[in-house]
Symmetry: C2
Subunit: 107 residues, 2 copies
């Protein structure tokens, strides 16, 4: 097994310096995804099931939206044991696009 | 002719209180439209041809993007003689979504 492999497999995230405002705006131009960001705005990590339950959507649908948020660089998903904990990439977003998260959470 | 008609025909704009953050985010999740907002960020009114020229796009394409921005409540189009002058609805956006325009223009 090559030394670079890991288990569990690493969940991909775009680096902070590649985050793109257009991509983020397009990704958040959706009521479910904006609502997820607002739920995560309190800083508490959540699993997909909790977010989906709070929004009244099937976990499969929640998982789809969470993947888009992660790929846009808005959220971070970390494997912890059997769970995948989702958080907002707040510090990185605040540094790249000051004020954006505040607008989203307040709006 | 009914008393409610007018010439030139009134250009429709959504009232400030109906502006929706999801719609605005979705509309601005496009590189051309975000660029138009940045150009208008200096407060100077512009006509479609000037904006299109600055972006290197055909006026018909510019007109399409400007219509979407107007319908989302991001810009205002006012007929002045034969010209249609476009401005950012900055005060109304600042009041409804404080910080949003700053993020867009700075980002």
């Amino acid at each position: 097994m090559p030394a670079t492999s890991s288990y569990p497999p690493k969940i991909p995230h775009p680096p902070a310096e590649t985050l793109d405002l257009v991509t983020i705006m397009r990704t958040l131009g959706d009521p479910v995804r904006l609502q997820i960001v607002r739920l995560l705005g309190d800083g508490r990590p959540r699993v997909c099931n909790e977010l989906s339950g709070a929004l009244g959507i099937p976990p499969s649908t929640g998982s789809y939206h969470l993947r888009l948020l992660r790929m846009a660089g808005v959220t971070r998903t970390e494997a912890k044991g059997t769970e995948r904990l989702i958080t907002l990439r707040r510090d990185e977003l605040d540094e790249r696009f000051p004020g954006l998260v505040d607008v989203l959470i307040r709006g």
